[in-house]
Symmetry: C2
Subunit: 235 residues, 2 copies
DNA sequence: CGGTCCGTTGACTCTAATCAACCTGGGTGG
DNA sequence: CCACCCAGGTTGATTAGAGTCAACGGACCG
């Protein structure tokens, strides 16, 4: 952890919540925040912990997960750069937050951050809009988890990841075959989709056999037939 | 639809968002709002519609649902009296809103309501807190939908409904056997839990056979063994 | 009295989970 | 340099649990 000298070097300054602040206002947050690096697989907060901090995610991918006592686990959300991390106003953390890749955070102590929120209506509104969007996304995923077949879940997941990759960091033209790296292992993918590793793997290989995607190696995925993939994703 | 003469006769005044407003401020909303009665099974808004209105729910139960083109449907949220209905700042309705019982709403045109929100930080904050709570609830349900067995889903659902009934309208002491009416049919229950009608029915009857609940008739449920029910709900 | 809706039950099917091997690539240590 | 090891991924065989299809019963309603 280190103090934030300056937000100027922040790669997500324009997309994160802080984008709503003037330079002067930013100074307030600046004094509050600390940069923190987290390693892959490191857990930032456990469900049930006291809710101490909020953060902006600067780089990397985080997951939110719920677990039962018997070991069953479900990923209930993924967080990407510029996303807001944490739950203001809650006394306890309700979902475990874990890094899926090395990640960098801009961390704020929760209660002081809540006070800053109160003083900056524009930022509070932006947060409200993001939480509303997250709620809509969570509800949409409820449909997929409850009613989707394994094939639909996997196809929809690859589409999501492709769309996200296309908006930054894609390796090819959006027109031709699109190649990108999944940030998740098979196991992590299965945890997101409510499947087992085996089922996730089988469905992915099936898409490959059907010439809808190619798997060039590592975690790379190439989408060969976007229309067919969309057809398999249905909802 | 009729103009709201006075909020004084509002049964949820203290629990709804408006609870954050002074009498004077309430007058602003008052001019904006209209009472609306909706009948059981009536749909207030369809997914994809222009997002015209928000509301407070005064009485009754609403559901939010997502549907696929092939007819599959999933209830992604339930709304109870004093809950806020709708999604500010969204251009389109993203989940169909339908009344599960006769219901009464206090309806506001969306954009004027958003302006009122901006002028009343306390109300905006209250909304933010509610949306955060709804997000947590949605994510928790994601776990249940994706990983829960039919038995766990049904047990958890009955516990939820019992808790809700206990906080108002229960028919017995919280100590002894607790009896309440489900506001939902088997089909609606199944739609919430991501099950079929038949599976929901079988699991409910199984709880009855196992002496954990009794079914006195109609939609009434009596919880005979709360501890056993909780054990079956697991997460 | 007939009809319809809701809930229940039974028989059967089918999808995805489970259990068990096995492969593969990358890293390590002899 | 090569043999080994190990995690992640894949594949196959089997099973369990919920879905599907079908029929039936009772309550309510006209």
């Amino acid at each position: 952890m280190e103090a934030i000298d300056i937000c100027a070097d922040c790669g997500v300054r324009d997309r994160a919540l802080c984008g709503s602040l003037s330079d002067a206002e930013l100074a307030t947050l600046n004094r509050l925040g600390r940069r923190r690096h987290v390693a892959r697989d490191e857990t930032i907060a456990w469900a049930g912990d006291d809710n101490i901090v909020c953060a902006n995610l600067l780089s990397g991918v985080l997951k939110l997960s719920a677990a039962a006592t018997d070991g069953r686990e479900q990923t209930v959300g993924l967080l990407y750069p510029a996303d807001f991390v944490g739950t203001p106003f809650a006394e306890q953390v309700d979902f475990t937050i874990t890094a899926l890749t090395d990640a960098e955070l801009c961390v704020f102590p929760r209660e002081p951050f809540e006070r800053v929120l109160g003083d900056h209506a524009a930022m509070e509104r932006l947060l409200l809009q993001r939480v509303l969007a997250a709620l809509g996304e969570a509800r949409g995923r409820m449909f997929s988890l409850a009613r989707g077949s394994a094939g639909e879940k996997v196809a929809g997941f690859l589409l999501d990841m492709a769309r996200r990759a296309a908006t930054s960091g894609c390796r090819a033209t959006p027109q031709g075959p699109l190649t990108f790296d999944l940030p998740l292992s098979r196991g992590e993918t299965a945890a997101v989709l409510g499947l087992t590793i085996e089922t996730a793997s089988r469905q992915i290989r099936k898409l490959e056999r059907d010439q809808i995607i190619a798997l060039p190696g590592g975690r790379a995925v190439t989408i060969l037939d976007m229309a067919a993939l969309e057809a398999r994703a249905q909802a």
